[in-house]
């Protein structure tokens, strides 16, 4: 009887710990990179540059995006998350990846956190999110960082 009770208690504790750990992974702020640091990384030889992924909206990407970056889709959208998973799935888990959006002020961006949480849950160890305080126009384009137009 005592063994059964212990087993049940242990199972409950384990479940609670797993739940707490998953919740922490979802809510923890992702590691960030500044615009200046990313711009410096983009000047390196191609083999040393990160994979840069835009998880915002297509109309913004078509107007202006970080050179070499790829458009995936909004991280707040199930399709966007599925596309991101498909894109990074085959990559080594130590691949250097930078996610960015810039749709809205940093605290209110609905796209970067779900995208970052996905990559964290997939085991990516060198993933960062570009910190954009206000929006992509004000904090990247207007500051003169390299920008590319088109699809």
């Amino acid at each position: 009887m005592r063994v059964i009770v212990r087993t049940i208690l242990a199972t409950i504790c384990l479940t609670l710990m797993c739940g707490l750990s998953a919740a922490t992974a979802q809510t923890a702020e992702p590691a960030t990179i500044t615009a200046a640091d990313l711009a410096a990384m983009l000047k390196k030889p191609a083999s040393e540059r990160p994979l840069v992924i835009q998880v915002g909206f297509k109309v913004m990407f078509d107007q202006a995006h970080i050179p070499g970056s790829e458009y995936i889709g909004p991280g707040s959208d199930a399709n966007g998350i599925a596309e991101l998973q498909k894109r990074v799935g085959p990559l080594k888990r130590d691949a250097v990846i930078v996610l960015y959006c810039g749709c809205c002020p940093w605290e209110r961006c609905p796209n970067v956190r779900p995208a970052a949480a996905l990559l964290t849950s997939m085991g990516f160890t060198h993933m960062k999110v570009l910190h954009i305080a206000n929006n992509f126009g004000a904090d990247w384009v207007s500051k003169g960082y390299p920008t590319q137009k088109g699809q």
Binding site: V59, Q63, D77, C103, C104, P110, N111, N135, A138, V141
Partner: protein, 160 residues
């Protein structure tokens, strides 16, 4: 004389390059198909005060502004206010669902990069323009703006 010619050439080149419209400039013309299939032609609203809102369904600040736009449209329709929504969503279905859910009472059309460029770039959301009765840009608001600010500006424009 040569100086004047240089200014004219420079101005022409700037316009050709698509200089972003400033306050006081004519609002860029557009004709789009709205969600109900009707033509949404900005020129047809000359004589009205027009609020053009660039937004997206997943954009939290945009979602918070929309009930205020619905209320403003109701309150000032008779005096000549027209609200137009330009969605920056990638696809139309979520916009249609949102339109119903939020009881939007003004036309909404899907935007694209060309239209956004003509308005000086929409590189963050929401962005709203107020256009006066003469079709000129009266204000541009980047980011979430208080309903009271919009109302004050709309009332001023309607009064002109």
């Amino acid at each position: 004389m040569r100086g004047l010619a240089s200014i004219v050439v420079a101005t022409a080149l700037t316009l050709a390059a698509g200089a972003p419209p400033k306050v006081g400039d004519p609002a860029p013309a557009f004709s789009l198909r709205d969600l109900s299939g009707q033509t949404l032609d900005l020129a047809s609203y000359r004589g009205k005060v027009v609020l053009i809102d660039f937004w997206a369904t997943w954009c939290v600040p945009c979602r918070e502004e929309i009930p205020h736009f619905v209320a403003l449209q109701d309150k000032y329709r008779a005096r000549g206010l027209v609200v137009i929504g330009i969605s920056m969503d990638d696809t139309e279905p979520p916009v249609r669902a949102f339109y119903q859910k939020y009881g939007m009472n003004y036309p909404v059309a899907m935007g694209d990069a060309k239209l956004a460029d003509r308005f000086g770039g929409i590189l963050g959301l929401p962005v709203a323009f107020l256009v006066d009765r003469g079709g000129r840009i009266a204000r541009r608001h980047d980011g979430q703006t208080a309903a009271a600010v919009f109302e004050k500006e709309i009332v001023a424009l309607l009064g002109k």
